[in-house]
């Protein structure tokens, strides 16, 4: 705490008057910028309490007669066409599609990442170095053509539009975060495992009871990041899970409907509803996210 205070003071007491004026101007600029990042959501929130007519005539003013009609309609089973046959989905179904996919994809991919990272970090076996190098090289080479072959593969084995297909495709171990988790395991002293082995612990027991708890901070950070990534994913569910729209895909369907019918205020309500869970999530894990990603220098 004292160190932090010293850090803070050391950066400000040496400033000249001119530099303080520049800092003041930058502060105002950053404040305007920060407000611009939240203004669109204020605009959405305000207009979500209007009816279509009021929004049409006065989109920038406060609602004169606030109404919850858009939210009520949305939660009373309002359906939007998926564009696949006669398929339709409610906002509840979109929520379920998003949450079920994000949770299962996060859990499976993190589990396999931990398994692979741990074994490659802690066990000597033929091919270990080759595998590790191959994974590093694969993360450097741009694979912009792979999406078409992936689509062909998923189409050939008839997994497009299936939950299991999405999980199989996204449960990869060697994706973002693998190298970090590998280095987390690498940094844990092997002496802990040796002591456990003397006590008769199996390799599985050592992995689950000793190593995972010791690397839990790093694992938790990447679990949160991966969950956010899967939750916010748009293009992959759009291509590979079109008949079960997630919130992201569903919102684009609602927007297309709003362009045709003019029901923009309902779209605004849906957008607000889609933001709320992620804001709650952010409020809970904010400290973890900011301290481990930004301050830790991950990019």
């Amino acid at each position: 705490m004292k160190k932090a205070k010293r850090k803070h003071n050391s950066r400000s007491y040496l400033l000249t008057k001119r530099e303080k004026i520049i800092l003041g101007i930058v502060f105002v600029l950053l404040l305007i910028y920060a407000l611009s990042l939240i203004f669109p959501f204020f605009f959405l929130l305000m207009n979500s309490f209007k009816d279509e007519v009021e929004y049409f005539y006065d989109s920038t003013g406060f609602p004169k007669t606030p109404t919850f009609e858009n939210y009520i309609t949305l939660f009373s089973g309002y359906k939007v066409g998926t564009g696949i046959g006669d398929g339709e989905a409610t906002i509840g179904e979109m929520f379920w599609n998003s949450i079920s996919l994000a949770v299962v994809e996060t859990v499976t991919s993190m589990f396999f990442t931990c398994c692979a990272a741990y074994v490659l970090a802690k066990y000597k076996f033929p091919g270990n170095k080759f595998l590790y190098t191959f994974v590093i090289v694969s993360s450097v080479v741009p694979t912009i053509a792979a999406i078409s072959a992936t689509y062909r593969l998923m189409s050939d084995i008839q997994l497009i539009g299936t939950f299991i297909g999405m999980i199989i495709m996204n449960c990869g171990a060697f994706t973002g975060g693998f190298l970090y988790i590998h280095s987390y395991f690498k940094s844990i002293p092997w002496s802990f495992a040796e002591s456990a082995m003397i006590d008769g612990a199996s390799d599985f027991k050592i992995f689950f009871r000793i190593m995972i708890p010791m690397a839990k901070n790093g694992i938790l950070t990447f679990t949160i990041l991966r969950f956010l990534g899967f939750w916010n994913e748009y293009w992959i569910p759009y291509l590979f899970y079109p008949n079960h729209p997630t919130l992201g895909v569903g919102l684009t369907l609602l927007k297309a409907e709003a362009v045709n019918t003019g029901s923009y205020t309902m779209l605004f309500a849906a957008m607000i509803v889609a933001i709320v869970p992620i804001l709650i999530f952010y409020a809970i894990f904010q400290k973890q996210l900011l301290s481990n990603t930004i301050d830790g220098g991950l990019k």
């Binding site: 078409s148 990869g172 779209l267």
Partner: protein, 304 residues
Amino acid sequence: MNVQVLNKKKKKKINVRRALFIAGMLAIPLIQFGIFFVYVNINSILLTFRVVDPITGTYGWGLDNYQDFFYRFTEYPDYKDAIFNSLMFGLNDLLLVLISLVLAYFFFKRIPGTQFFRIIFFLPSIISIVIYTMAYSLMFKAGSGPINVLITSLGGEEPDWLLDENLARMLVMIYCLWVGTGYNILIFGGAMANINTEVIEYAKLDGVGMFRELFQVILPMIWPTLSVAFIGSVTTVFTLFIQVKLIVGDSFGTPRTIAFLINDNVMSNQEKAATIGIIFTVVATPVILLVRKLIDYVGKKFGY
């Protein structure tokens, strides 16, 4: 003798168990990697040689997809436009890095409200790109978007943001700057916060001003973080498309990029998508490696 045999047996048993453990832990990850990385990437090369007869649906092998690509590249403007747009977005990303770097410097100086800014600047990384792009484009919606309302209330004429390719490109570029600046400020600010304060203090006592402090003291110390951002700008040239798709959509004035052309054909013509992808991978790989080398060289040459 018996004890030795017993120990040998026990050791063998442990080794077998360990081998099974390693195999068990790696089996599924390796199978998944083998299918969705190795097989898929090999198949994406094979797809470029696959020629489908549009009438019979049968296929053969040949160089037709490459011929089509180069014919279209020389005879039609769309591929050249895509390269131009992609380069513009890459340059925009470079501009984003530079703006963020300067702002991060002031952020590092601990301006008031740092915690508030941190929370807000991280929002675009938390909230879905679908929601952010949608909210952004609603600001420019004809008749009701606040930006358009402001322009008309000042006596101006509402621009056709999405119908004019230049305006649409500018709209996407501004969006990338808008959502990216805050996050980059936090990343660069985080790297700057790790610098030993004594170094900054000594420089200050030597009478170093803000400009020299940023470029001669701080920049060398955050060079690794900055180099990742520069490489990211090059990668953007070959990967950016979703922002265009979500903000402008798919219309006459859409500023299509290389990745847009690939992804636009994924569902309907995988051979064409793979061919565009492979050709640009061949271009992208040496470019990215060259930029990496160049950044390393600059870093070493100037003591970064």
